[in-house]
Symmetry: C2
């Protein structure tokens, strides 16, 4: 019988100390799936910088607040519990984050 | 340029009314990945019932509290933000849930 291999991991506990950089931690990596926790403390993407990713990203805000900006000018404000699918190639940046903002990000190939 | 197709979905908003049954909603389905929201309101697995799944399940408690039980007698208490990987074939049941408990469950093939 397969058994659970680990005690629960507390995504909202044991947060890294706030620093100059956002904190990225891969929680699980599988072929075709990466689960990541991201902790932001007010950081934003550099002005004029756009993420354009090869993978689709499904991102869920677990704590805090954030704003995503898209190249066409649209903005999305995310509160705790809000999730959005960012398709591969969709240019986006992080325009605002609150202190102690925690994201869950899933990356997987586009269909 | 690919664009985000939807407004953010609030996993903690627009909760279904509490009923006799747990509420399951597939948020995203892809080859090799299913993202599900589960809302529990005190429901537990029937006595003697064990989930034994073909997929690995990575489950994250978003709100509320819950207890998972494994066939070998171990129990895990989950609070908001706690995640656990339940390997395929690992017999488990939900032993306790608080009212308005919200889970995020990811299902994907075992390695």
């Amino acid at each position: 019988m397969a058994e659970p291999m680990h005690d629960p991991f507390g995504l909202l506990r044991d947060l890294p100390l706030a620093g100059a950089e956002e904190h990225f931690q891969t929680l699980l990596g599988r072929p075709g799936l990466r689960i990541e926790r991201i902790v932001s403390d007010g950081q934003v993407s550099p002005p004029g910088f756009w993420y354009e990713q090869a993978d689709d990203e499904w991102v869920l805000l677990l704590q805090g607040e954030a704003e995503l900006e898209y190249r066409d000018g649209r903005c999305q404000t995310l509160a705790a519990g809000d999730a959005v699918l960012i398709p591969a190639g969709c240019a986006h940046r992080v325009a605002r984050t609150a202190l102690r903002t925690v994201w869950l990000a899933l990356f997987f190939p586009p269909v």
